[in-house]
Symmetry: C2
């Protein structure tokens, strides 16, 4: 485990880590405001930390010098190291596409769950809990199934069948609650913290961003240390954008790169909660939006990582945009046809966002762009079922069609 402190991004108060400490005692627990800060000067001098020492396909634990865990789990070796493809898309050459659908549970969330499980072991906890729109929950349930620790999962009863199936298959204790994600979140936090269970809420527990930031590290090393100009990613709670910023920032901090990309958070027009906060300006004050979207993973009306997300996006000169559900579904289809990659709705928004920004001439063909696809489309096939032709043909009809 690496030496680190926790520092509040709002009041700058510093804390020595201890089990159960997830939030700033002054700023409260409803929002994630703590950052994990390492001794970057020492890390910079570590002779292992050289560009040539990284592998394009190694697991996220090749970055252990910037991770806050000591224990190891069976899945660690296969979390991260996901593909970075290059496709010519929408008139731009070599668009980078980071595809995290090939993680063990088929989403980006495995990066955080792996850290959560290892931290729980480090701290001697025997139960983890999580509220989730689906991916974080199924990720935790699956990665924790083989350990001796228990998993409590709180989800809205309406999550897609793929995600619900993963939960049940893994043997987790599933609380499918009649309520929105935001209500489920509050309930889980109240109960889980009271019980002393290990908190796998990436928007509160600062350690989980440490897992997620490895996606940024991988984009850099897999692109031969050339940092893209823009990184686009879907935004719900805000944790993925926060983590990407932290990753790019740390690699620059320790001298492995000289640049942080402009990060663009893409939200669903039906529920653009963080975008609203960001555009209202400082101080970034959370407020709740009621709304909905086909992209269930980012259907978040009360984003808990809003302070970090807005602060970081500002720091990298990034911004937020939103696209409609129709544009999201079109994005899944168009991305599939152009690349073969099947993204869940919240993953395809990055592509939809790029399309919009090209149309608005905010991104041009000379820009270096990276899209982050956070989950496998198989997670939520119902979302696109209306796009599927259900026509079936008789043998004679096929013959006629192909030979006619």
């Amino acid at each position: 485990m690496n030496n680190h402190i926790l520092r509040c991004i709002t009041c700058k108060k510093e804390f020595t880590p201890k089990p159960g400490l997830y939030y700033c005692v002054d700023c409260g627990y409803i929002m994630g405001t703590l950052e994990v800060i390492y001794d970057y000067e020492t890390i910079k001098d570590n002779s292992k930390v050289k560009q040539k020492n990284f592998e394009k396909k190694a697991s996220m634990y090749q970055f252990d010098f910037l991770l806050p865990t000591e224990s190891k789990c069976k899945f660690d070796e296969y979390v991260g190291g996901t593909p970075l493809y290059k496709f010519d898309l929408l008139g731009i050459k070599d668009v980078l596409v980071k595809y995290d659908g090939s993680n063990p549970s088929s989403s980006y969330k495995d990066r955080a769950s792996s850290v959560a499980i290892n931290r729980a072991i480090d701290e001697g906890n025997n139960t983890l809990f999580c509220a989730s729109t689906g991916n974080a929950a199924s990720s935790l349930a699956m990665l924790n199934a083989h350990t001796d620790m228990k998993t409590y999962i709180f989800v809205p009863a309406t999550i897609p069948i793929g995600k619900r199936t993963q939960l049940e298959i893994s043997g987790a204790q599933v609380m499918a609650v009649e309520g929105t994600y935001d209500e489920v979140y509050d309930l889980s936090l109240e109960l889980g913290l009271k019980k002393g269970w290990y908190c796998r809420h990436a928007a509160i527990n600062p350690y989980l961003l440490e897992g997620k930031k490895t996606g940024a590290f991988e984009i850099v090393i897999q692109n031969d240390f050339t940092v893209p100009d823009y990184v686009l990613v879907g935004v719900g709670d805000g944790t993925v954008i926060s983590s990407l910023y932290k990753g790019f920032w740390e690699f620059k901090k320790i001298g492995l790169t000289d640049k942080i990309p402009r990060i663009i958070g893409v939200q669903a027009e039906g529920i653009p909660a963080i975008k609203a906060v960001f555009e209202k300006g400082k101080p970034y004050t959370p407020h709740v939006i009621i709304g909905e979207t086909v992209a269930d993973s980012i259907a978040v009306g009360n984003p808990r990582d809003v302070i970090k997300a807005c602060t970081y996006i500002e720091a990298c000169n990034g911004f937020f945009i939103s696209i409609t559900d129709e544009e999201i579904l079109d994005a899944i289809s168009e991305l599939g046809k152009e690349t073969g990659l099947f993204a869940e709705p919240a993953g395809a928004v990055a592509f939809g966002g790029l399309k919009k920004l090209i149309y608005e001439e905010k991104i041009t063909d000379s820009d270096k762009v990276c899209l982050v696809i956070t989950g496998n489309g198989l997670k939520d096939v119902n979302a696109v079922k209306d796009m599927i032709h259900t026509e079936s043909l008789t043998v004679d009809e096929v013959v006629k069609r192909l030979e006619g």
Copy 2:
């Protein structure tokens, strides 16, 4: 491309490869009987072919010295190199679990599709076709989406929604035919060969086994060149077992290992077509079985790779078993709870088969066992939907349950 000939496993006739040559002119095209045979002595002397030169996570193209392709596609770099986990299962320590659900299209079939696409380019063909119970089709459609080549897919209209969605998303020409897999297969072969399209039928086109065999290579290198005693895998057409045998055989042939494992083909009791042929004995004569199973990927009544599959299983002292649909569904659930891995029905049969063989004392805790999980469970969540608790709780009920 490596020098090779094609040799008929039945009549031993040898052929010089040429475009469109998929089957033995004497033995006919309905069954796959050709084998791709390299110059193994030359390969053995290749200084690159040493145990130490392999990487545990590299793509299947690290084995290019035993592959029949020259062209390259974007996905090549990320096909293969899938996880090999070790779990203590059913009383056996360190059971190897090869999990191919993390390939680009989430199944084992990508290994064959990648070779098919590259061979089609090598041969100057501009269209590929495939009949499939689902995985081979979605694999080909996705991996070929970004190329300039066309994809024609023939599937039974009843395939699971996950697989159908992948097909439609990728923009392939989908012929969803009212008929069984076997009828669809015959139709596609007749039309596709007449048109001169490149044939992505792993049971006929011998080159596709060359892609699939890399799974065996990876099991060996990821287990530090210790070959397991038993390898269990689900069987439909028979191509995966054929390919595994070929892989283990070739590594022994070129001196990288000294053993071939006993391969156990696990079939669904509802439609155990290859098992019936094998147990009837030589000469292995195809005959058609009518039946069904929840494991759609192995619901094959007229297996086209039966001759190779039976010949190879005999050669390695392997055998076939079958399990019921109930045992298959139990296997998905138990594998999930023990490991966290989510397998599609046809993937989980390997685990179900192991359970049966342990019960029958044919495999004991001193045996070294490997299970091959060929597809991600997200491909077919409907298969397990009856196992899912659909109970939902109010907030008050959750509080009562956890605090009571």
